[in-house]
Symmetry: C3
Subunit: 372 residues, 3 copies
């Protein structure tokens, strides 16, 4: 009874997808069709991501705002990063970049758009604090500015940008070293950002996160339970990611989609599914501050942490370094994401029609990526 | 006497150009020089656009805010759209795109700039509501983001952008279908925008329009009079557009201007002349809210309605579909227009020097287009 | 005693570098190594720039707000302009463009970043007036929009952009005339801006500058003393600039840096050193209004005055006109500078972490320029 009501609750539904985990493993072992393996393992990522999110939050609550914030921040994008690490290992460098851009884009357009539509349906307008949101959209702007420099470098040097769907790995040592240098600067900046948000300006960011717990009235988890859950979720995400990544290329070709499209749209949505759901949910409860924080904050996290982490990791994992050279679609999408984030946070309010427009831009981008 | 004072009033002067209408027809029939035909027919568009605007407004006032708003919105850019339809029929696809971009640019830089200069000359600064203006500049941002995707697509695919002044029509089926898909998304978004502004958030947009009537203290028109005026104006705009479009190519070559320049500067100014005048007029009366609304709102209308309407229409009219692939000047101009609109609306106030700067950028763009 | 305490004061330290002036002259005459000559003459620019700034201010205080403002504004960027004139004479056109972009970039990212870090270290957050800052970032946006048009022109015409470090001077008459036309429009706009800030809207800009004098409690200078100081500083800047410019090419090659890097980073920092120091100093005293004004205002000055002045001057000095065609790095940097300036001024507040992020972007750009 309690399990059933939990599974049908707004927070419990991802766990309905738990059976996809063993199913994906079985299908993979049985060498089932790659399309089937891809979608079942993608579905299997969702409950593990949800469990990981929940366990992190419980651990964060019990370990005080300092370490708690660090945990939240570090594990917040863990599923995406784990998938990307497996993709790096498999040499799918262009898929990794596409899924990073897709995550940023999906958060700013799809998640924020859906939140505004759902939240604005029964309300004239919704309000949120401009200050916190603006600070995060500045982070996004600056990280994106840094991320585009290697591509500008390639253009200036007269080398072309990669074409979407290409499986190019080798960009030459100069731009790979530039990418590493950019990653190190972003990483240092990220470290100082932790100092900022966990130490000197703790008050600015924590009240937002503290809104969260009143979603569930259950017993808080013990630390032991949380750690075990985190370990299980980590292993499961790893397994699912390995299967998912292993099936991407063949599945994409079979359906007739480019690897680029799969990376920028499908993998990005799967990796962020749990987060997306929470944002829409809190928007419907008129907690627009939190919804905007999740959408723009996640994007900033990806740009400031996931991107440099993966670049540095690529020097140790897989066939070669990850050069931060984005293709034309990705550059266009990043610029649009930054402009939209800046504009939206400057207003400090939203209506359902603004949400519709964000979704419309996402649809147009997805169409262009599809036609590519 | 009353006619004379009306013709010399701020609202009546466009009708001084009525004689240009029969003159243009006569010159066209007499196969007069194309430059003469071009300028006389261009002058002839102005009074018909003014009459169309006035009749629409009268009809709107008498039919209640719902239908009235719909009428205003639909017929607001009718002259531009009619000219563009004739140009599509004549295969002048690049001229159509240039005049659409020119309308957006002219509204944001020329109209808003002139409004700020005229309105700010006798005042320290002028104020306007940031909320409504910001909502429209977001519309413009999102529509422009969508409109640039086919060009990014062409660049990514390694095909070049069109050169200004080229009479290129055939871009290949892929980007034509992408343009159609973008147009459909924009059209749906526009339809939902009507629902938003006429139904769920009527209060947000209507007070602005209601400022308008106190400009004239005459008797309101009867519905019959308004419909007849609308019909006459429609026919006259059609006739003038046909003659105008028929003379563009030859006139441009004779004067030594590119068709691109004629489209992006001359046709855009003619098509918006009546609207431009109203914006400057209300700014001089310190109704800056309305002036900003006309300038940025018109641009958003063109991007969200005129552009997709013409793309869809091009599948039925003329030699081939209209691919939304803009040239480098047009892309640069669109991005500048969006950045300026966002910046200006964020401030919520203006001075005459801001107006000077907008005009200066317009002058620089016009110079660059002229040199091309 | 008084001299010693002055030299160690926050305002006096640049004068510790006075010995570099005769040293640079001596080294140059002795045909010393170009790297040594370059750095010593660069160090010699700093005290002359400081003296020039101080003398201008004293003269401005004594001549009333009208003429005073004009003096401040005209001589504000004199050192940079003098260096650039010598570089134009030597045919180092790409170095000139690089140093102009470097000045804009350095002000927005390096100076503003350092100000925010230093000012924010002991404070939760710092506040500044959005209105004045916003007006200046609009100036910057519009000037940059104008400055990018010749590059867009070259791209549209199918000619490439210059590569960084190239010593290209001849761009052909069309784009040179376009550059001249753009410069004239910017110059007219600048002249009207003087009318605006010195006549019709004097109150908006002057209070900010009046904050300044309480830094020093010494006797005000007599007009005679100020004029003599200005003359001495002018001559010294000229001498140092000639030596500096004469050593750039060889020094750059010897160290293994590109002329582009030297222009965009080193020359830009040297030319603005005194100004930079003042901005950081006032930020540490929580006068964030003035710090933002110096950083963004200087950038706007360079774009609106120094750029067109040098273009016009290039038709009379040196081997050929200065075409305003920027390379890919410069265009990217200008766009980033505009977006950051707009974003920062919209917030009206800052923290040390925002400063860190601005510095991080500057570091990334410098890295990319270094790798080029």
């Amino acid at each position: 009874m309690r399990l059933r009501s939990f599974l049908l609750s707004s927070e419990g539904w991802p766990y309905l997808l738990v059976p996809c985990i063993p199913l994906a493993v079985a299908l993979d072992l049985a060498h089932a069709g790659s399309v089937l393996v891809f979608f079942v393992s993608a579905a299997g990522v969702i409950p593990t991501a949800a469990l990981m999110g929940r366990a992190t939050e419980e651990l964060a609550t019990r370990s005080g705002p300092g370490i708690g914030g660090l945990l939240n921040v570090t594990f917040g994008n863990a599923p995406e990063i784990i998938i990307a690490l497996f993709a790096l290992g498999a040499g799918l460098h262009e898929v990794v970049k596409a899924s990073l851009v897709g995550s940023i884009l999906g958060n700013i357009l799809l998640v924020l758009g859906a939140s505004m539509v759902v939240g604005g349906l029964r309300r004239d307008r919704q309000y949120f604090d401009r200050t916190a949101a603006s600070s995060q959209s500045l982070m996004l702007l600056l990280a994106v500015a840094a991320m585009t420099m290697p591509a500008i470098f390639e253009l200036v040097e007269g080398k072309g940008l990669p074409t979407p769907g290409a499986e190019r790995v080798d960009y030459g040592p100069t731009v790979e070293h530039l990418s590493l240098a950019v990653a190190i600067v972003l990483m240092i900046s990220y470290g100082l950002g932790l100092l900022f948000s966990l130490k000197t300006h703790r008050a600015l960011f924590n009240p937002v996160r503290e809104d969260d717990p009143d979603e569930h009235h259950e017993q808080p988890w013990s630390v032991r339970k949380a750690v075990i859950a985190l370990a299980i979720a980590g292993v499961a995400v790893g397994v699912m990611s390995e299967i998912l990544v292993g099936s991407i290329s063949e599945a994409a070709h079979t359906i007739g989609l480019s690897e680029f499209f799969v990376g920028v749209i499908v993998v990005a949505i799967v990796g962020n599914a749990a987060e997306h759901w929470v944002a829409v949910l809190v928007a419907s409860k008129n907690k627009m501050d939190l919804a905007v924080n999740i959408a723009i904050g996640s994007s900033a996290q990806i740009a400031l942490f996931a991107v440099p982490f993966l670049v540095i990791a690529s020097f140790f994992i897989g066939p070669g370094p990850l050069a931060l050279v984005f293709n034309g679609f990705e550059l266009g999408a990043l610029i649009i994401a930054v402009l939209v984030a800046t504009h939206v946070t400057n207003e400090g309010e939203s209506t359902w029609f603004e949400g519709v427009q964000l979704l419309a831009v996402y649809a147009v981008l997805a169409l262009a990526f599809f036609f590519a």
